[in-house]
């Protein structure tokens, strides 16, 4: 498709700006303006995804060099230094059982909730509503939308009709910051679910909280800690 066809000049120019944005060629001010435009315009986001994916073909040319051995402990210090030495919650557990993603026969149909719309919300006047689109991890095909309403203190989950293997259940977790994942129980696929949050969860729920679904044995993980693979994950944003 030639760029000389009936595409408007705005389309030409925008495509170039997005490419320059992706390459890091814009000035600081231009870059920031473009970032805001991209966040607000789906067509520009799609254009950026295209450029990012194509340009990433050059990544093979970055040569590997082993960093000094002290770097990772510094990384952990930065992330975990302020926390109590609890962190070993995950380390003491059985590791994820590897489940071939292809064996999950879960077909889900997306419902039309626009989770990308950055609508202004005055938290003083409106109860906080958060929505998370739990997107499929590679191959699982599981997708959910979750809606949190602070006024009612409940999370409503809608999946797409589908099937999980009869000997499995999906379990929902919330994760705040660096804290361990907390179970919200088993979630059926074939009906809308409403989960009332306890006081702790209500306190933790806010923008950026992460919701995740794991594939567990029937009835959910018996240990209170996720044992199966993550089939869908998403972060909550205000609507």
């Amino acid at each position: 498709m030639s760029m000389d066809d009936d595409r408007s000049d705005a389309g030409h120019e925008d495509s170039l700006l997005v490419a320059e944005f992706a390459l890091g060629l814009l000035s600081a001010g231009e870059h920031e303006r473009m970032a805001r435009r991209i966040a607000a315009e789906p067509a520009l986001r799609a254009e950026l995804r295209m450029w990012n994916q194509r340009l990433a073909g050059l990544d093979a040319q970055f040569e590997e060099q082993a960093p000094p051995s002290h770097v990772f402990s510094r990384v952990e210090q930065r992330i975990f230094a302020t926390r109590a030495a609890g962190g070993g919650w995950w380390n003491s557990l059985a590791l994820w059982r590897s489940v071939a993603m292809g064996s999950l026969a879960v077909a889900v149909v997306a419902i039309g909730v626009n989770v990308m719309r950055p609508a202004p919300v005055d938290p003083e006047q409106f109860a906080t509503q958060l929505v998370a689109a739990l997107q499929s991890q590679e191959g699982s095909g599981v997708e959910f939308v979750a809606l949190y309403d602070q006024a009612t203190g409940s999370v409503r989950l809608t999946a797409l009709s589908g099937e999980v293997a009869p000997d499995r259940d999906l379990e929902l977790w919330y994760i705040k910051g660096d804290e361990p994942a907390v179970s919200m129980g088993v979630v059926p696929l074939d009906q809308r679910t409403e989960i009332d949050l306890d006081a702790t969860a209500r306190e933790k729920f806010g923008e950026g909280i992460i919701l995740a679904l794991t594939l567990e044995q029937k009835g959910g993980s018996p240990t209170g800690v996720a044992q199966g693979p993550i089939v869908a994950v998403g972060a909550a944003t205000p609507i």
Binding site: M1, Q53, R54, L55, Q65, V75, E76, G87, W90, Q137
Partner: protein, 181 residues
Amino acid sequence: MQSASAEIAGLISRTALRDRAAFRDLYGRTSAKLFGVCLRILRDRTEAEEALQEVYVKVWQRADRYVQSGFSPISWLVAVARNHCLDLLRARKPVSEDLDLALEVADTGPTPEQAAVGSGERARIDGCLDQLDGDKADAVRGAYLDGYSYEELAERHSVPLNTMRTWLRRSLIRLRECLSA
């Protein structure tokens, strides 16, 4: 058996669930690549070490965003590193640099991790860049791989700034046609 790429994706998603062992494993498998990115763009070992730490903190903080990014797992990690280093570059005071130091490093052939980038995408961008004049293709590569600004590219190629802008924009138009074909 999972591909290397699928394994990295699994480690990223487990990192999103705050699995510290997976995060350590992810670092072990990908830090050489990301250190390479930081070294190439920042051209200063001390800065690159500092940047690498900040990059992995960002990886920990943003692991949940990988799913929606549209990138392959390695390329998402490279993008976090590259964007962070570009931010650092722009914040630096301008320093006169010896441009001879920034010669292209000899290509020694793809390592297994490099192969994991995706030979399809690699072939596509290389093929489209090959259709441009050599110096235009170099300019695009210089912007992406070395983080050169328009000013630096103009200097490297000994052309006025506006000429470089025109070159690059025309090249990007042609690239877009080729990449969409």
